[in-house]
């Protein structure tokens, strides 16, 4: 799954640590999500969308490989 968290985070002027604090996770989790090493839960994905003030489908995009 592709995500645009880094782009949106940069637009909002937030560091990984600041974003992590707002969504109540560790900085390592935000880093792992941005590097596409970890797919967040639905709750975390929604929290990220609320904090970054975008829609969830603007933040995450399904890829071909996610269907298999």
């Amino acid at each position: 799954m592709k995500n645009f968290i880094k782009i949106q985070r940069t637009i909002k002027g937030l560091t990984q640590a600041a974003l992590a604090e707002k969504v109540e996770v560790t900085r390592q989790t935000i880093n792992a999500i941005e590097l596409e090493k970890y797919s967040p839960s639905a709750v975390l994905a929604l929290k990220l969308a609320v904090v970054l003030e975008v829609k969830t489908d603007e933040l995450f995009q399904l890829e071909e490989k996610d269907w298999y």
Binding site: E24, V25, R27, Q28, T29, N31, Y38
Partner: protein, 155 residues
């Protein structure tokens, strides 16, 4: 993320310290085949089979409980250390924990299968004894390795 099955973070350091000390003592006394004689006590045994004797059930026996006490300490402190929360718990840590647990179980049974093929007779008894602790030790190893790797990649 709320994890209801984990122990508080506050006991991590103490349980880790006790685990390492007791495990080292257990290893050293086993290798040196030494038990302190002051640990002989009468114990209630549901089942007991002494060497070259018939099995006895639901009876009191005189035995040295040194290895029993050490093993119990290792197991309890190991479980408290392995399954206590990290300083900051979230879903990614939970995922790393689950991944480490699965790896530990797979690894443990792979080693056991190899032991079944290549170790026989009384030597296999040592394998069974080690197998009591190996899943826990492997889990602690894999999980701590993942945490260190994540912290290193982020720094």
């Amino acid at each position: 993320m709320k994890s209801t099955y984990l122990f508080p973070y506050q006991i991590k350091k103490l349980s880790g310290f006790i685990f390492i000390i007791c495990f080292c003592v257990l290893l050293v006394t086993t290798l040196m085949d030494w038990v302190p004689s002051s640990f002989n006590f009468p114990m209630f045994a549901i089942a007991s089979t002494e060497f070259l004797k018939d099995a006895t059930y639901f009876s009191w026996i005189e035995t040295n409980v040194w290895y029993d006490l050490l093993t119990i300490l290792v197991i309890i402190s190991g479980i408290l250390f392995a399954f206590s929360k990290e300083k900051t718990e979230d879903e990614y840590i939970s995922k790393l924990r689950l991944s480490a647990l699965v790896k530990a179980v797979y690894c443990n049974y792979f080693i056991l299968i190899l032991a079944i093929f290549f170790i026989y007779n009384l030597a296999f008894f040592s394998v069974l004894v080690l197998n009591m602790l190996s899943t826990l030790i492997l889990f602690i190893f894999f999980f701590q390795r993942e945490l260190i790797s994540v912290k290193r990649n982020n720094s």
